[in-house]
């Protein structure tokens, strides 16, 4: 499906662009909101992402649907990281004070929350925690890779992830407790 749209877009078919957009915008919006929760910020990031996707499509070599989706997702993630760096929200100084963290070392009880709830709770994490958690869990990067990407120390990445996990576990626990 996407392949034919990509072909039509190469032929400057504007309707194909809107169809491709409609087909993928929901999923890409979900990815974007995981990194940049605010409406206005997410809109900026998604706008830049789609412009880059459409601009790159004429030279993009389509192989299969999963790789095409992964390619679009990478563009959104890169734009989100660029946006967060621009806003100085990923500098070491702005990473959350670790002394204010919960003590208990628990794993998040992901099984008992819905996808929407989980998505929302990730969005509520501080910028540094959220970014490292996203890159580690969803993009499958190692702490070394994350450290290089964000320009931080590897141990900082590991520490941010550790604390992100504990804070997420705490929030999930509280959410489950509030459920009837």
């Amino acid at each position: 499906m996407s392949e034919s749209l990509v072909r039509r877009i190469r032929n400057h078919d504007q309707q194909a662009m809107s169809q491709l957009y409609a087909m993928h915008v929901g999923r890409l919006a979900s990815v974007c909101y995981r990194y940049v929760p605010g409406d206005d910020d997410a809109k900026d990031v998604l706008q830049e992402s789609f412009v880059k996707i459409f601009a790159a499509l004429p030279t993009f070599e389509y192989r299969d649907e999963p790789s095409f989706r992964a390619w679009m997702t990478r563009i959104v993630v890169n734009e989100a990281l660029r946006f967060l760096k621009q806003q100085s929200r990923l500098s070491v100084e702005t990473l959350t004070d670790e002394s204010a963290l919960p003590v208990a070392d628990e794993e998040p009880d992901v099984e008992h929350v819905t996808p929407d709830e989980l998505h929302r709770l990730i969005g509520q994490l501080p910028d540094g925690y959220r970014t490292v958690l996203n890159l580690y869990v969803f993009e499958g990067l190692s702490h070394r890779q994350i450290a290089q990407l964000l320009g931080i120390h590897e141990t900082t990445s590991a520490s941010q992830f550790y604390h992100a996990k504990r804070l997420l576990a705490k929030h999930i626990k509280e959410l489950i407790k509030r459920k009837p």
Partner: protein, 402 residues
């Protein structure tokens, strides 16, 4: 074997979708220089919204036109109706003075056969004709023609006056005041003409939408009216003061002026849907009216009404991108006059545009038309004169997240 929690998270959010931010496709299209087309997820002004925008614009224009039509000169009956807003004491005083005026008019008619008194008028009219010609061209012509002639020439029939063209801004006094008074000097004024004169103040004229009628118009014209009158010596016994003789002719001449309402408010909007919001808040409205007897240049009554109001409305975003938004809204407003009895109900529709110069702050302009229901009292104020009231609201809007 139990899944690792990270794997659970990946699986849980695999294929997860979320509603994109409003106006995203329009922004992308705009940046890429392509025409935005309706898509499954981002809707760019579908048919009903276009019709809604068109209907809002047509309604707004129509109501402004309707409002303008409603501001034609008032009938004499309308002028009489304005008296209902006066206090009881003022009304009684006016009735008594009106009786005296009628009695005086009868005496005057009798005396009008006196050639001397008629001739006395002529020089006065000649003296005042020129200022009138400058100030009120529409009414000056017949006066200038008759000025130098004898008393018979002065007898301009009041019945002619309605056929003369009248400038709207001066219609209150120009046609209905000066000309009948001149004719009256010859004793040719019929009973119906007297009635027409007694209610001849076109109160409507002081309530134009965006301008209050300048005071100097009224003063100048009324001064001329005074100049026309020459009271016979026999009448001086009725009131020896020249001022009193003026009173005779000004008893029914009062002007109501409703100044434009001033409103301040604080509104809160709550979005129940990306495109729909419920709004409420607190409004303060100030209505100022003046009731004057122009001949004395005296303010008879100065009325200040202060209202506190509670609005409730629904706003629908029709179109928008990151910076600019167009919306329509409808709502009702309940106001309580805090220094008088009435409760004031009104309903209105508005079309607005907002420009966001900051992510959280926007500058908006909102033309609207409201209909103000009769508050059931005899109180006279702007909204009773103009139940259809177009207005424009401008302000800053702050946007907060939930």
């Amino acid at each position: 074997m139990k899944q690792d929690w990270t794997e659970q998270m990946r699986n849980k959010l695999e294929g997860h979708e979320q509603t994109p931010p409003a106006g995203l496709w329009e922004a992308v299209s705009e940046q890429m220089g392509i025409a935005p087309a309706p898509t499954r997820r981002t809707v760019v002004l579908p048919g009903w919204r276009r019709w809604a925008v068109a209907a809002a614009v047509v309604a707004l224009v129509g109501m402004v036109v309707l409002y303008k039509v409603n501001t034609v000169p008032t009938s004499p009956e309308g002028a009489i109706a304005h008296r209902q807003g006066w206090s009881k004491a003022e009304s009684l005083q006016l009735v008594a003075e009106e009786k005296e005026r009628r009695r005086y008019d009868r005496d005057d008619s009798t005396n009008a056969t006196d050639t001397t008194s008629s001739i006395d008028v002529a020089p006065t009219v000649t003296d005042t004709a020129l200022p009138i010609a400058e100030a009120v061209p529409d009414t000056a012509l017949p006066i200038a023609e008759v000025g130098p002639d004898t008393a018979s020439s002065i007898a301009v029939s009041p019945a002619d006056t309605p056929s003369r063209p009248v400038r709207n801004t001066e219609r209150l006094v120009a046609t209905n005041e000066s000309l009948p008074l001149i004719g009256e000097r010859k004793g040719a004024v019929s009973e119906s003409e007297k009635t027409a004169r007694s209610v001849s103040i076109g109160l409507e004229g002081s309530g134009e939408l965006l301008a209050v009628q300048p005071l100097h118009h009224e003063n100048r014209i009324y001064t001329n009216v005074y100049g026309y009158r020459s009271v016979p010596s026999s009448d001086m016994a009725y009131g020896n003061s020249p001022l009193y003789t003026q009173t005779v002719y000004s008893l029914t001449d009062y002007v109501t002026k409703h100044y434009l309402p001033v409103r301040f408010g604080l509104s809160v909007q709550w979005h129940v849907h990306p495109r729909l919001a419920i709004s409420t808040g607190l409004h303060y409205t100030y209505l100022h009216s003046e009731f004057t007897i122009p001949l004395y240049n005296q303010t008879l009554r100065d009325q200040h009404l202060h209202y506190l109001g509670l609005p409730l409305g629904l706003t629908c975003q029709l179109w928008g991108n990151r910076r600019f938004q167009v919306y329509a809204s409808a709502g009702a407003l309940l106001e309580k006059c805090i220094n008088d009895r009435p409760w004031q109900w009104s309903v209105g529709v508005a079309a607005g545009a907002e420009y966001r110069f900051h992510r959280r702050v926007g500058l908006y302009a909102e033309p609207s038309v409201g209909y103000y229901f009769d508050d059931g009292t005899s109180l006279q104020h702007y909204y009773k004169q103009h139940p259809w009231a177009p207005s424009i609201e401008v302000g800053l809007r702050l946007h907060f997240k939930n």
